[in-house]
Symmetry: C2
Subunit: 311 residues, 2 copies
């Protein structure tokens, strides 16, 4: 009986691994190093070895495994092939086929941000829904769109690339992607620092913020104690993000927005200010769509990868 | 053998009806009046009568019909129930169940803009694709999102309500929906007239446009002869629409954008200027996504409704 499923989340420095029962109960989780040498050619064999070792350790036979899901930092086509993953030193790679050949059971692959969204739908902040937009506010802004329980991959693997939504194309500062005014330039940790520097350059009020040691965390902490300059920065951030979410709702009209990533650790006060602007800009039928915090943190990827394998 | 399928497109003044073979070959099309009296209670029996009459005329038995699809101007849940359709004088109505009881075969219902998108995917400008964004530039701006061959209905029936994407929430003029700066205020026929009035109020150059007889068609005709004021208006229109499409691409990353509605009759020159701005603002992986004109015109609804019935 196929009772187990593996969820693997491949990052640029470490690979998170999870062994789950098919109902989503986690049995074990561990990490291995990401070896990017030799164009990242060690990564897939390393994963296979680690999984096989775990199976041996737990006395799990190949026949007991439904499959393995894997999240990777890059665009993925048809649940099987990675087009490119710069951080892993991968070009086009037939990941599912390679790993299946080593393991002897079914493998599915997804983009890491999309897979995290699936994880939050399955066992996190979006539990019980089948249509959600996940927004990951980290160094950049990532996202995942789930429609009817399935990841929207898109024609070029760019489904859920919401960090690059052109919210203010007239902005002088340019994004890493080469465009101007991407959501990421407002709503990521880096974006908050950018907004803060702008604001501090012109602010006349006294503030706890130190222009020489500015970080997203410093801004969010100052926001919680109602520092007037920090409030203006966070309102700016929330206005652009709320506007973006309102636009996304006109496209896919999700049941829920799940907000994750380091910036979201600021918690409910941050959710509240994003929601204020979301409600102002959203189309009337969607104004009450809830915004919630993600719940799985760094484990969203392994949960989502496992869920992907079960589809 | 179930060889036939009906596609019905219910509008506020007339109901378009199509009889198709299941491969999409149209056998016959006709129209009946929309009788909105008695809270629109005549509409469903009228459709049933007209369909039964056509079956008799063509010698088609109930067993020869796979089903009937219907597009209605309002939000639809689960392919069966209409939440509200102001133009038909309908509140919440169990349309599929009512019509099935009269006809004795399966009925599916969809929002008219969404259904038109499905039609363009099946037999129109989006033939051969399974992921598209349809944009209908008419009096307002409608839309339909197709992912993996299926309409994205959304949690509140607002999937594809792209006309109400908040592109410029600081805009003073308000939209019919109550918000400010909706895409519809820039990209519809009404929006073009609004932009033209603004532009004409400040333009110093001579122009063929007459401020007292301004229409979207007049602007688009003047654009084609390179009237300098009309060019500015159309660039404004295209900039906002291109920006919106670029944002939508970051959400669902379609294979193709299909542009329909009265405004799109301006043809390739209009498509070209929208595409120019789309490419400027789109995320790199999506810059080459084609924009094409819709091909089915007013028949998109009956084609899409028939396709819906075949799902």
């Amino acid at each position: 009986m196929a009772d187990y499923v593996f969820g693997i989340d491949v990052g640029g420095t470490s690979i998170k691994c999870g062994l789950f029962q098919t109902d989503g109960t986690i049995v074990d989780k561990w990490e291995i190093k990401t070896r990017t040498e030799n164009n990242g050619d060690e990564i897939i064999p390393d994963v296979a070895k680690s999984v096989q070792q775990k199976m041996k350790e737990k006395g799990i036979a190949k026949e007991d495994v439904t499959g393995l899901g894997m999240g990777v930092p890059g665009p993925v086509m048809a649940d099987r092939e990675v087009l490119v993953a710069v951080n892993l030193h991968w070009g086009h790679k037939k990941v599912a086929a390679e790993l299946e050949a080593l393991l002897g059971f079914s493998v599915k692959v997804g983009n890491d941000a999309n897979v995290a969204a699936l994880g939050e739908m399955w066992k996190g902040g979006g539990r019980g829904t089948k249509n959600l937009v996940m927004v990951t506010l980290g160094t950049g802004v990532g996202g995942g769109i789930i429609v009817d329980g399935k990841i929207v991959v898109g024609a070029h693997g760019a489904g859920g690339e919401i960090g690059h939504a052109a919210m203010d194309p007239e902005l002088e500062a340019s994004c890493n992607c080469g465009n101007n005014g991407c959501l990421e330039q407002f709503a990521s940790a880096t974006g908050i620092v950018r907004l803060a520097k702008e604001e501090l350059a012109s602010a006349k009020e006294s503030t706890v913020l130190n222009p020489n040691m500015i970080s997203a965390k410093a801004v969010l902490d100052a926001y919680k104690v109602e520092d007037v300059v920090a409030v203006r920065i966070v309102e700016d951030f929330a206005k652009t993000l709320g506007n973006a979410l309102a636009i996304f709702a006109c496209v896919v009209d999700p049941e829920i927005f799940v907000i994750g990533g380091g910036v979201s650790k600021a918690g409910q006060p941050l959710i509240d200010v994003i929601q204020k602007y979301y409600q102002r800009y959203a189309f009337k039928s969607c104004k009450e769509t809830p915004l919630v915090q993600a719940e799985l943190g760094n484990d969203a990827g392994i949960y989502g990868a496992a869920k992907l394998a079960l589809e």
